[in-house]
């Protein structure tokens, strides 16, 4: 397979060459900066021309695998719920996901996930960074990595949009060593960023004049500072301007869509996420909070899961009907699963030992269930897969050979996924 970007041997390129490449790529719209650069701009441009997008559904706090993808009904830790047959013969999921159960032929589920952290504070960033080997740098979250590796495309929209409950704004911390411009533009509560529209009192020509003044001031400012600081400022400003041209995204959605996705925060955000993908955003993270069910887990999942089921099945159906699953990689996951053991608060605690991740879309072998937990659901009873394996898998699904492509962190070659992990071939079309 021809690798799309650089090979490790190419990391001996000089800093001067890198900067030259960066300049070329930036001109081409890839937005490559001095730090976190990639080499081989020609290949990068080729990559950019292929439409590749990601919908990353982050279930923050930890969805219970036993109440979702890997039910163990009527066993010691199985909980009260039944399992139901799915559209994939022989495969059952929890009764709490009836809509998704009828789309299992479109999905791939790995029930053999085994990761390292059982705390949110460590697990959330570690999982979303792919848990690479420690090389003394802060790796980017998956969204920032994809933003860097694929770029923003032709839409003029930011490459990485995070649709979430709560506040919005520019979230630079996701980007790690790539630099702040690869951070996420967060859309909070489904609302457009404040002051998105140009006030009526400012004409277009006056706006142009203002911007010329701003650029001049920036040029003076940046002379005394690291270039990536201004780069980030410029990026945020350009992002806002691009959104001004796409403000239709924030109009009230079609009530029929609202009904299908569910009148919930997750339904709202999933629908907006779909619209962002349709508009051309490369990486959309849709976030749901409140899944840390240490208490009252079963009543909790009895309301949480149907709302996830409705929103998730609606977006998968929509992407399928629009032919978008050919180029959109869809992933649904948490930072870990939940303990088989049921605590005194009738809850389940954190469990990275054996849990499940679901995916579909670009490059993914649909109608696949791999990995297996033992009869009680306590441990993986097949080959274990860590998050590093999934990062390799997802990069491959996006056409990026993660064994050959690397970052260049200001001269420091860095792999884009854990060196010792491998793509999970059973999940990939090829």
């Amino acid at each position: 397979m021809q690798h799309p970007l650089c090979e490790p041997r190419e990391h001996h390129l000089s800093r001067r060459q890198l900067l030259g490449c960066a300049g070329t790529a930036f001109t081409a719209g890839l937005g490559m900066g001095a730090l976190g650069g990639l080499v081989q701009p020609l290949v990068a441009r080729e990559l950019q021309q292929k439409q590749r997008q990601v919908l990353f559904i982050w279930i923050d706090g930890g969805m219970s695998q036993l109440e979702s993808w890997d039910p163990k009904p009527s066993t010691q830790f199985g909980g009260p719920f039944r399992s139901i047959q799915t559209s994939l013969p022989g495969t059952h999921v929890s009764e709490l996901m009836p809509k998704t159960s009828q789309l299992m032929h479109l999905l791939a589920v790995d029930r053999g996930v085994h990761t390292q952290d059982n705390s949110h504070s460590a697990g959330v960033p570690r999982i979303q960074r792919g848990d690479p080997k420690d090389r003394g740098v802060t790796y980017p979250y998956f969204g920032s990595a994809v933003s860097r590796l694929i770029g923003p495309g032709q839409s003029g929209l930011p490459a990485y949009v995070w649709v979430k409950p709560g506040s919005g704004g520019f979230q630079y911390k996701d980007s790690g060593f790539l630099g702040p411009k690869y951070g996420a533009l967060a859309i909070g509560e489904g609302q457009a960023p404040e002051n998105l529209l140009l006030p009526d009192s400012i004409s277009a020509s006056a706006d142009d004049t203002r911007n010329a003044l701003r650029r001049a001031a920036n040029a003076r400012y940046v002379k005394q500072r690291r270039p990536q600081v201004n780069e980030a400022h410029e990026y945020v400003f350009d992002t806002a301007r691009s959104l001004m041209r796409q403000r239709h995204l924030f109009k009230d959605p079609d009530p029929r869509d609202v009904a299908r996705y569910g009148e919930t925060p997750l339904g709202r955000d999933m629908l907006l996420g779909r619209q962002m993908l349709e508009a051309g955003v490369t990486f959309v993270k849709v976030n749901s909070y409140g899944w840390d069910t240490h208490g009252d887990n079963f009543n909790g999942h009895a309301s949480l899961m149907p709302r996830f089921d409705q929103a998730f099945s609606a977006v998968v159906e929509d992407l399928q009907e629009r032919g978008m699953l050919d180029h959109v990689l869809v992933i649904a996951m948490s930072e870990f699963g939940r303990t088989p053991r049921i605590n005194g608060h009738v809850g389940r605690d954190h469990w990275p030992e054996a849990w499940s991740i679901a995916m579909t879309g670009r490059g993914i072998r649909k109608g696949t269930v791999i990995g297996k937990t033992n009869d009680l659901g306590t441990f993986v009873d097949s080959e274990e897969h860590d998050i590093g394996d999934f990062f390799h898998t997802w990069f491959h699904a996006l056409g990026i050979d993660s064994k050959k492509v690397g970052y260049d962190n200001d001269g420091q070659p860095l792999p884009i996924a854990h060196d010792d992990c491998e793509p999970i071939r059973e999940l990939l079309v090829s």
Binding site: P73, F81, R82, G290, G295, G344, H345, E353, L376
Partner: protein
Amino acid sequence: MVDLTPEQLKEKYDPQPLQVVESERQMVGAKFSPCGKSMVSGGYDGLLHRWDLTQEKIVTQEPITGHHGWLQGCDFHPSQPRVFSGDSWGRLACHDYLQPAPEPVWAVETAHDGWLRDLAVSPDGSLVASCGRDQQVRLWTTADGQKIHQWSNHQHDVYRVGFHPDGQYLVSADAHGMIRKWDVKTGEAAGEFNAGELFSVVRLQDVGGVHAMTFSPDGTLLLAGGTRPKNGGNVQGTPLVLVFDWKTMKQIQALEMGPTSDVYVQDLQFHPGGFLMVATSGNPGAGKLHFQRLEDEKPFYTSSGFSNCHAISVHADGERLAITMTSKGSNGNGRPLDKDGNYLGNSSPIHLLGRPQEEEENS
């Protein structure tokens, strides 16, 4: 009782440990049979566990099988040796609990679509009501399990069901704090009690609902227990008992039963002595047993050292209590293994408690 001070009440009723019935699995809640000869408990293992109380020592009997998932609904016929049980897969069954290896007297395999959450037998023993996650309330004959009525008015999971002591009315309480009153003979809706204070939507999650319900012995009050939710996920909230006037259907009192870490009122029972017993269960290790007169501002007795009290049962002798708990130290994000490397589950010790000795009472 009203003449006694809280200190005197505590001295009279301070529960004394008699025995702890250990179990290997987690239980929903132990109940004494009306005849006093048996104790049963539904389990998270789909079994109806049984204990013979007629021997010098408590004898564990063969459990009643045939259920799946969690066996949460359980109630007795008031005068016949019949126990009714309902599971989270929707099965409702009737057994003779005094038999060594009971076969079903009758069973309805799909009494509900999924989680059958609660059962209640009418005071005259002729009817058993059930409710469940399918938002349905159903009425069955205890003799042969024939469905004679169904109410579909709830819009959410129905958590609790109970007969008024006069037997003419049934109440059902749901996950959003709506309590509906039904005329048993006509099937007509007879009113509503608003226990919405026990519910909140937090982010994507419905939190709370009516977790416990009982009537005052004279039938003038309806009490609903749960939590005033503070958050979801880990679920914190003030354990709360709402007291309603049965006639006016208005809330007349609210009893806060502990800190937000104690979270849920999981069971409510009136003691034969006339006071209310409240079981709370929240964060692992948190939760208590409280005794309180409704006219008092605070309990005259609150347990210490108990862990996650889930259910209360009063023996027919009026002296003994069974309190179902969860094993201490039940929480944790790690991977607890025994010496053989087996993954450890939790269990539900059932604490049998008695009254202080008579000589102590007279002293």
